[in-house]
Structure formats: C-alpha cells, structure tokens
C-alpha cells in the first residue's frame, strides 16, 4: 500500500518560501508602523481620468465621461449615509449655480455604494441642481482610488485630472477650488501641470 518516500534530508522549497514569507511580513509590519494609515498617494493628478459609463440616478440612461470631452468636469463622490457630504452640499449647489451659464462647465455627482431610493430621498431633502450617476458596486470609486466620501475631482477639457479634493468643499477650500482651479481652466489660463 503506502509507499515510503526516500528521505531527501535537504531543505525543500516550501521551507524557503515560508521563511521568505515571514521575513516579508515582518518588513511589511515594520514599514506599516511608521506609515500613516490615511496616506493617499497622489498618483492620479496629471493623468487621464479613467473612463466612466454608469447609469443615471433618475433616468434609465447610461452616462459616460467621454461625452463631456472639451468641457471642465467636476466629479463629486458622495453618499446619503455620509455625514460630511451634508456639510458640503449647499456649497456644491452654489458652485453649480455660479457656473451654470458657462456651457463648458459640467458637474456630475457619483453616488457611491448607496441605495437608489435613499440617494434620491437625500437629494430631495437637501436640494439638487446637477446630474448624478450611480456607482452601486464601487467600481468607479476603485478606478479613481476614492478612499472615503466626499471626494471631488476636477477634470480638464482634455480629460486629464487636474485637481483632487479629499473631504468636504467648504469655506477656503471652495474659494480655492473656484478661483485657482476651475476659473483658470475655463478661461484657458491654467498652467499645464
């Protein structure tokens, strides 16, 4: 029946792998100790915005980012369960109002890991003046490296991400976003990054 293997006596592959694994883990933990758990590498700024095709929150249609090529797009990730999103909501409405005359300005909300009815109810409660798409499975957010909501991206006429804002757009952040980011882009006075 059972055969007895001839004893190799030497060190086998799995043993080396195990040892490497342990050392790897220790190094990883060591690096982790000095890191900041909420650090986000700014890899996306200056790179082409990942393509988006997603269903509209209200109408049964697909919206894609490429249809806005040639316009400045403000992409805002939000969710109805997010407390901080409420803080910035009025400013977002103001932002849209401010540039609503400009045909080259588009604002698009991305509803992140949310339920359709809850999202709609949220907008009904807090007011709404721009379009929203749904990211129910979180795929868009993964592509954009969204770590938490709210997060806002500004994409230029060539489809390149020019600015990323983590956290609510209120107060000085709003002023900066309008005066230093969006207006220069719309006027064509922005410096290439």
């Amino acid at each position: 029946m059972a055969e007895t293997k001839s004893s190799s006596g030497g060190v086998r592959g799995w043993q080396i792998a195990l040892l490497i694994g342990i050392f790897g883990l220790i190094v990883l933990f060591y690096k982790g100790l000095w890191g900041n758990p909420s650090y986000i590498p700014p890899v996306l700024i200056g790179t082409p915005a990942p393509a988006i095709t997603a269903p509209d929150l209200y109408q049964p249609k697909e919206v894609s980012l490429s249809q806005f090529r040639g316009k400045v797009v403000v992409l805002n990730f939000w969710a109805s369960w997010c407390q901080e999103c409420k803080l910035e909501h009025q400013t977002l409405l103001e932002l849209k109002d401010r540039f609503s005359k400009n045909p080259n300005f588009v604002m698009l909300g991305v509803n992140y890991q949310d339920k359709e009815d809850l999202a709609q109810q949220y907008l009904k409660e807090h007011g709404n003046n721009f379009d929203h798409i749904r990211d129910a499975k979180g795929r868009i957010s993964i592509d954009y490296g969204v770590y938490g909501v709210p997060e806002t991206f500004v994409i230029d006429q060539n489809g390149v991400i020019r600015h990323k804002q983590i956290g609510p757009i209120i107060g000085e952040t709003y002023t900066y976003l309008v005066e230093q980011v969006i207006e220069p882009l719309l006027n064509g006075t922005a410096k290439a990054s």
Binding site: M1, A2, E3, T4, K5, S6, S7, S8, G9, G10, V11, R12, Q15, L18, L19, I22, L25, I26, L28, F29, Y30, K31, G32, L33, W34, G35, P37, S38, Y39, I40, P41, V43, L44, S80, W81, K115, L118, Q121, E125, K137, G138, I142, G145, Y147, G148
Partner: protein
C-alpha cells in the same frame, strides 16, 4: 498602597517568567530534573503573582481610586458595579494584563495536568510558555503599565467607553483571550515535539481537549462580538469584516483546519509536518492579531491610540516568536519524511486535505484583505479600501465548498472509496438536494448564492440524517431497543464522531441564518416625523412620538414606534439616541422585536434637536436568530466532545507513561519527594534527550 503591591507582584512575575525560561533549559542541558521542577514552581507562583496584580487593579476599580491612571481612563463613579469590574479590560493596558493572567493560568494548569503523563514535554512547555509570558510582562511593565499613578488625583474617572457598556461586550474579550491563549498550549506541545523529535501522535492526543476548549472559547468570543455589533453598534449586521474581527477569525479558521487534519494523523499517520505547521500558524495568528490590534497599525473601530514605541516592541517580540517557531519547524522538518502517500483522491484523507486547503484559502483571503491597506502603502499602489464586497465575493464560494465537504468528509471511507460506496452514500442525498433546489426555486428564491447555499445545506443535512437513521436502526436491531435508544447507543460507541456531527449541524443552522438574514434583509433608512409610517416587507412601522429620556450616566431621546402586521398591532418599540455625559459620546440603542426567529430592528441614529423628526433605520432580518442558535448547537457539540469519555484503548503512548513508573519500583534510597521525582526525571531525561529520534 494596594496598587503598589500589585505592581510589585507583577514585577516579580517578570523575573520568575525569566526563571521559567532558563531553568528548564538548564535542566535539559544538565540532565537534572530539579531544574524542571523549579520551572514548574515558577509557573505556579507566576499565576498567583499575576492574580495579585489583577486583584489589586480590581480593588482600585471598586474603591474608585482615580489616582491610578488606567482606572481613571476606563471607569467612573457613576458606573454600575458590573462595568466597574469589567473596566479592567476596557482598554489597552488592562487587556494585556488579562491576557497574561489567562496565560499564567493555563500554563500552571497544563504543567499540573500533564506533569505525570507527559514528562518529556514539560521542560519545553514551561520554557515556551514562559517566553510568551516574558514578552507580555515586559510590554506591560515598560510600555503600557496599568499600575501607573497620576498626580494631581482627578476627582472622577473619564468613564468606560459607552459602546463597551454592554453585557456581551464585557464577556467578549475574555473569551477571545481564552481562545487565543488556549491555543498556546497545543502550540507549546508542538514545539516540544519538534525540539525533542518525538513527532508521533502523542502531542496531538494530549492536547485534543485544549484545542477544543480554545476553539470553543474563540467561537463564543467571535459570536459575542457579532451579537454586540448587531445590537449595540446598530448597523443591523453582525459581521463587518473589521480588522479586529478578522484578527480573531483568522486563528479560528486555522484552528478549525487543525481540528480536522489531526484526525488524519491519528488514523492514517499522515500530515505530521502539516499539523505542526497549522498549530504554529494558529497561535502565530493570535499573536499577529494582538499585534494588529494593539499597535494601532490598522485603523479600525476598535483600534487604540497608536504608539510606535509600543508597536515596535510588539513587532520585535512577534518577529522573535515567528522566527523561533517557524524556524524550528523548518529546520527540524528537514529531517522528516512523509511516510505515507495518498492512495486515492476519492478518500476521506483527500477530503480532509481539501478541507484544509479551503480553510487556508479562506484564511489567506481574510489575511490579504486585512493587510491590504499596509500592502498598498508599502508598494505605493493606488489606495483602495477593501470592504465587504471583496470578502463576500471571495469568501462565499470557499464557504460553500467547505459546507459541501462537510457532507462528504465524515462519511466517505478512508484510503479509497469505490463507486459503490459513493452511490450508497450520496445518491439519495443528491436526489433530495435536487428536490430541494426545485422547491426553493418554486418558492421564489432567485438569488444565485441563496439557491446554491440552500441546496448544499439540504444535501449535507440529508447525508447527516440518513446516516443517523442508519446507525440508529442498526443499534436498535442489534440491542432490541427503540430507535431513539439505538441512536444513544450509537452515540456512546463513538461520542467523538457524533459530537463532531452535532457541531456540523450547528454550522448548517448558522449558514441558513446567514443566508436569510443577509440576502433577504429588508432595510429602510429615512427621515420620519411623528405620525408617519413606513412599510417593511409585510410589516408596517409607525413613529408615534419622540421624547426625552434619561439614565444614570446618560441622557438622550427616545422614539416610540408601533409595529403592525396588516392592521394588527404587534408591538411597540422604543429605540434611543443616548449621549453619555461624562465621556461626551453619543450611542444609538437598538430596539428589537422578535418575529419567529427573525427580527424587526429599529434605531434612530439622528434626532432633530427640537424633536420634530428623526432619521430612522428600520430592518427586517429574517431568521437572524439562527446564526446564534447555530452557534449554540456548535458549542454543545464541542462541549460534548470535550467531556466525552476517552476510549480506553491500549494506545501507543502506553509505554511512555509506564516508563517512569518502572523507575519508581527501583530502589530509592532518597526519601525526599523532590529527589524522588528528580530521580524519575533523571532516568527519563536520559532516555529522552540523547535520543531525539523519531518515534
């Protein structure tokens, strides 16, 4: 004064722990058993000393001595006495003290229980346990000292975190620690087996009950944590894949794999190195879990303040333990050869192998998910949060596979199953499962995971109960009794197997609970004003009014809801939004109404300051109680298994246990007990130490 006494006791314990490492090693080197005896006494004394430390801390809690910084941080004079006592493990320092207290208790217990029967293991066990102990005591005394005083003395404490003021949460950490630390005993036995080269089945047989006990405690701890999350955190679920939950879940997965794979070694003498690997991994994961939680390296709802110095120490200790244990395994196992090879892929041992692989895949899944934030940072990936969607996608198929194997493994024959075997065993259950699938589909279940899960559960249940019927009627016929008595006879003949099957039944019940309470959950979140109502499946919930409420150490708002089914009023629910005044923390108190084995679950996470509206979160969780019923059945199975009578078979370990007894019959001039013992030891060590051969 009392607290200084406790502090001093723990300092002494540290010194004794070091003695506990050194003296058994000296004993082994010098072949003098007195040194091992010294180790045993050190371990016993250590338990007493750390108990003094624990009592001193508890005394300060009860006497409301807020000059002790840790007591100040985790207690308050208004706190009910129950939570004053539990305040000890409400923070980092006290948790570590509790951890080492349990360790000292188990170590003492193991040394006393196995002293006579497993003398060869004792030096290693004591040294190993003392090493872990030393690490923890150093951490406690130098980097997180609960005995530290503050001056000026604050008039009152900062209060225990209100989220922890809950019965389930009070018992959750002790059970987890019992589980974590319980694994250290089989781990030490495994290390002893590696060091001494006695890699037979004895260490597994000797530690069977330890492993089961640790597994039971870990299971209870995890389920309690789930229960707490369910109704105290108020997000309506019991499992959120939080790093700290995962930290307890990973050792559980590996310990479960271990519990299964040891059976292969016992019956077929296979998987020797594998079993050693598994138990070392299980205990290492307990340590890694402790590291992840205590160093603040991962952000989670449970994490305590990050302190790199502390983290560095724990990491150093962790690295030492990992390298020591896995290093020994690597170097010692180079000499081992796997003695028996698998005969067939269709055999019980092969199913066990799959079982193990599945459990490990599950563990690796959780491991990667938990460490993903660290990995992305180290490798500069895009930051992506790994949430429940990741786990559910990867984990679900693995879990399904495991449940399926549960129906096959215990029934398929060892070595090689014939087609005839398979047909006899699984044809009927297969048909029943297909029938079940048709029924589920007809009832309107469309979700693919729910269908697959329920079908598999149906299959496994059919296998189990057909087998029950078979053995019951077999013994009933043979003993001329009723089939119920026949079943009991069958149980008595093989309690280990049948108590294991009971645990499996518990798993099935739990799986049903999980499927229904997650996939068929109804959830509504909305703003409601008094008088408004909302439909929740076939139920209807109406907000009657909102009003202020007050407790001993909190104030807040309460909502009154009527729950209707059709037009009949089922019950009234009163969820609360509390604000704990001392610690300035808000909490949401859940209101739950049980319907059959499901729950109507209502919380009010947000209430308007003027009480005109509330954000309401209402859920219907069908069959959610099955999760805990399943857990209870699993627990009963394991408890039966722990307390079953061992079969008095002449085992291979017989010669070892009789060996020292032979020595006693030799002339023994020395009358002193210690000397007598050491004689016995001496002879024994002489046979053990130079040998270091494989059994």
């Amino acid at each position: 004064m009392i607290i200084e006494l406790g502090h001093f006791a723990v300092i002494t314990a540290l010194i004794l722990a070091m003695v506990g490492i050194a003296s058994p090693i000296i004993g082994l080197k010098k072949r003098d058993a007195v040194w091992v005896e010294v180790g045993k006494q050190a371990v016993t004394l250590n338990f007493i000393l750390i108990s003094i430390g624990m009592l001193a801390m508890e005394y300060s809690y009860l006497m409301q001595d807020y000059s002790v910084r840790y007591v100040y941080a985790t207690s308050n004079s208004k706190l009910p006495i129950f939570y004053k006592v539990a305040g000890l493990w409400g923070g980092h320092e006290g948790s570590l003290l509790l951890w080492s207290w349990i360790l000292s208790f188990f170590c003492m217990l193991a040394a006393r229980i196995h002293w006579k029967t497993q003398p060869a293991v004792m030096p290693y066990l004591i040294a190993m346990q003392s090493t872990v102990m030393t690490g923890f005591l150093l951490l406690i005394l130098f980097l997180s000292n609960p005995f530290e005083r503050i001056f000026p003395v604050p008039p009152d404490g900062r209060d225990l975190n209100p989220l922890l003021q809950d019965p389930a949460m009070v018992m959750h950490p002790p059970f987890l620690y019992l589980g974590y630390v319980g694994l250290s005993i089989p781990f030490s036995f495994a290390m002893a087996a590696l060091f001494s080269g006695r890699l037979g089945e004895e260490w597994i047989k000797a530690t069977q009950r330890w492993t089961l006990m640790a597994w039971l405690c870990l299971t209870i701890g995890i389920l309690m944590g789930g229960y707490w999350a369910y109704y105290e955190l108020g997000w309506g679920g019991y499992w959120g894949w939080d790093p700290v939950e995962n930290a307890a879940f990973m050792p559980w997965l590996v310990a479960t794999a271990f519990l299964h794979s040891v059976m292969v070694q016992e019956s077929r003498k296979m998987f020797k190195v594998w079993n050693l690997f598994l138990i070392i991994l299980a205990f290492s994961l307990s340590l890694i879990g402790t590291f992840l939680v205590r160093s603040g390296i991962l952000s989670s709802v449970h994490s305590f303040a990050a302190d790199p110095g502390r983290g560095l120490f724990i990491l150093g200790f962790l690295s030492f333990m990992l390298l020591l244990s896995f290093g020994t395994l690597i170097f010692r196992s180079a000499k081992l050869k796997s003695q028996i090879e698998m005969d067939s892929v269709i055999s019980r041992e092969a199913i066990f192998l799959f079982n193990n692989l599945f459990f490990l895949v599950a563990m690796v899944t959780v491991f990667i998910g938990t460490l993903y934030p660290l990995l992305t940072e180290a490798l500069q990936f895009k930051k992506v949060s790994v949430g429940p969607p990741y786990y559910n996608t990867v984990f679900m198929p693995v879990a399904l596979g495991l449940v399926f194997l549960m129906g096959i493994g215990p029934y398929i024959p060892w070595r090689k199953a014939s087609v005839q075997n398979l047909k006899e065993l699984f044809f009927m259950p297969g048909l029943i499962a297909l029938g079940g699938l048709a029924v589920f589909a007809a009832v309107g279940i469309r979700h693919s995971y729910a269908l697959a899960g329920l079908t598999v559960v149906c299959f496994v249940a059919a296998v189990i109960f057909i087998d029950f019927a078979k053995i019951a009627s077999f013994w009933a016929k043979r003993e001329q009794v009723s089939s119920l008595q026949g079943f009991l006879t069958a149980y008595k003949k093989n309690p280990r197997r049948l108590s294991g099957i009971i645990t499996h039944i518990g798993v099935l019940v739990m799986i049903i609970g999980i499927i229904f309470s997650t996939i068929y959950q109804t959830e509504k979140v909305m703003i409601m004003k008094p008088g408004e109502e909302v439909n929740l499946g076939t139920y209807r919930i109406k907000l009657i009014r909102l009003y202020g409420a007050q407790g001993v150490n909190w104030e807040g708002q309460e909502a009154l809801f009527n729950v209707y089914q059709g037009e009949t009023l089922l019950t009234q629910l009163r969820p609360q939004k509390r604000f704990y005044t001392v610690s300035q923390t808000p909490t949401t108190e859940t209101a739950i109404h049980q319907i059959y084995t499901g729950h109507i679950f209502v919380t009010i996470p947000e209430v308007a300051p003027d009480g005109s509206w509330a954000r309401v979160r209402a859920l219907h969780n069908p069959l959610v109680l099955w999760v805990w019923y399943g857990g209870a059945i699993m627990g009963i199975g394991v408890i039966l298994n722990i307390f079953r009578k061992s079969r008095t078979k002449v085992s291979a370990s017989q010669p070892e246990t009789t060996a020292p007894e032979v020595v006693i019959s030799l002339p023994r001039p020395a009358q002193e007990e210690v000397l007598h013992r050491s004689n016995r030891w001496q002879t024994f060590l002489n046979t053990v130490w130079p040998g270091r051969k494989e059994v």
